[in-house]
Symmetry: C2
Subunit: 313 residues, 2 copies
């Protein structure tokens, strides 16, 4: 029976999903991400994949597609660019997987792009022709789909919507070296940063935060009526709606899906975000739908599997 | 012999091109744009098309595709939206053309999108997979091509790059009702507007201008060392490069093609534009090519013909 594997390579863990051809997730395993740069490390990965298959009554010959998503740029030709947060030799790992699964088509996909494809395969965007998934996580990633296909970009920077400039007056630098990027306000880090700034400005004691990306606590404070939390969420919605209006004059998607950790608070900020977007967008695009993503942290694992399957000759 | 027609419906004239299947332009006619809302008006158009064919040894049966480009939104499904500058009943004209050319596939395309497709078929972007054509004309239009396909948009606003917000501090309104759009600085009207503002600010007498869109005279003044003209062109390049950097984080094209009337001055401002773009773009996209378009005012006529031909089942 033909099978598909989706391998989500993150900064802290590798998660592998075993899928049917129709996109049913049959099994998942998770292991810590080590350095994946030697034959020994490649073997640990491929042995793990084979074990997962064996446990589920499968053989390596049955695997027709293996997708890998990585936290970094992958261009229109599937070439992996610089990976800042993980030690990975993509060519070496690709060769090892190809050797272990001789019948499989392999594909690398950027993580946010993979999440968009996951939503296209089995999530909110099932069978949609045009949408943009915006993953509000530690950073802000996005995946742009037009005509049912992912726009990876000539240099792998398609969907880098976290780096739309939303505030040219910003003085702090973004991780990309530029200033005033959406990511500085709408990522988990950004929301917490603005929350703390607002607390200082209003002379409020911040709620207890579990690290620099703890938006859950900011959302709780918001629900409890905390003024600084209200300001931070309002700021996020203002800049995010503004950035989406800029995206709409480029690709004019039918829908935006909001995912990622911050996206977990979607119900809390959905109306403010919709109002913000409509206040900034060009009039024809005022009816663009703004919806929550549905596959959570599994989206990228689904999506890279789907891409590898779709590209199969 | 199979033939293709491309009909460029502009605010002042209708231009028709007769093409071979391979994209060779065999003949062109041009007539003033009247109101195209009655059977009598439709007949004038279809009779003109038939006459053009007959003059070139063709018959209506040989026409396999007819493209029409219009100065307004056309969505992903080919549906024409509101046309502000012409009186046209698209459904009526479509029915009349279909009746006159029973073997033809028909397609409506937005004018800037058509220009992009024209460059893809027979111009600078021949066989390119991803590029953005920016037409700097009376307004600023654009056509976005990814994966070799046009991105028209769910609401026909794909490529409305003239409405990327580049200056949130602008006090004058754009034609779209919003403020600080690229079009307010980089269209022919915008360049002349900024030139006059700079003349006033610097206490310089403006050169003689032939109307509110006479960028040719501003370019001449620039060549003659006029300080206000230098400022206006610098401002245009600054905002245009900034807007292109925003576009690149969405679709990350391999190239930008600069067309339209203002684009005729490409050599004069190309280096300033490239420098501006590189100063604003996300680093992976720093090698995006910035090139002049090559088909001039015929680009849209080529492009709508190409679209009608491509869509043919």
């Amino acid at each position: 029976m033909d099978r598909v594997l989706g391998i989500d390579i993150g900064g802290t863990s590798i998660k592998v999903g075993l899928f049917s051809m129709e996109g049913t997730l049959e099994a998942v395993t998770k292991s810590p991400t080590g350095e994946i740069v030697s034959e020994a490390a490649f073997a640990i990965v491929t042995n793990g994949l084979k074990a997962l298959l064996a446990e589920n009554g499968g053989t390596p010959d049955e695997v027709v597609a293996v997708g890998l998503d990585v936290p970094g740029p992958v261009d229109d030709n599937g070439k992996v660019g610089m990976l800042a947060n993980i030690e990975l030799d993509p060519d070496g790992l690709q060769a090892a997987i190809k050797h272990a699964f001789p019948n499989a088509n392999l594909a690398f996909v950027n993580d946010a792009n993979a999440a968009a494809l996951g939503e296209l395969w089995q999530g909110t965007a099932k069978d949609a022709q045009s949408f943009v998934l915006i993953a509000l996580g530690t950073g802000v990633g996005a995946g742009v789909v037009t005509g049912g296909k992912l726009v990876a970009g000539a240099f792998g920077a398609g969907g880098e919507i976290g780096h739309v400039t939303v505030n040219r007056a910003e003085t702090e630098s973004c991780g990309c070296g530029r200033k005033g990027c959406l990511e500085q306000y709408a990522s988990a880090k950004g929301v917490v940063r603005i929350y703390k700034q607002e607390c200082a400005r209003l002379g409020i004691e911040p709620v207890k935060l579990d690290g620099p990306t703890d938006t859950l606590s900011v959302f709780e404070a918001y629900r409890a009526g905390d003024e600084a939390a209200k300001k931070a969420i309002a700021q996020m919605c203002d800049y995010l709606g503004y950035a989406m209006a800029q995206v709409s004059v480029v690709v004019d998607p039918a829908a935006y899906l909001i995912g990622g950790g911050v996206g977990g608070g979607f119900k809390l900020f959905a109306e403010a975000l919709r109002t913000s977007y409509r206040s900034y967008c060009l009039s024809p695009s005022a009816s663009t739908r703004i919806l929550p993503a549905s596959l959570g942290n599994d989206a990228a694992m689904y999506g890279c599997a789907f891409q590898a399957l779709s590209e199969r000759k």
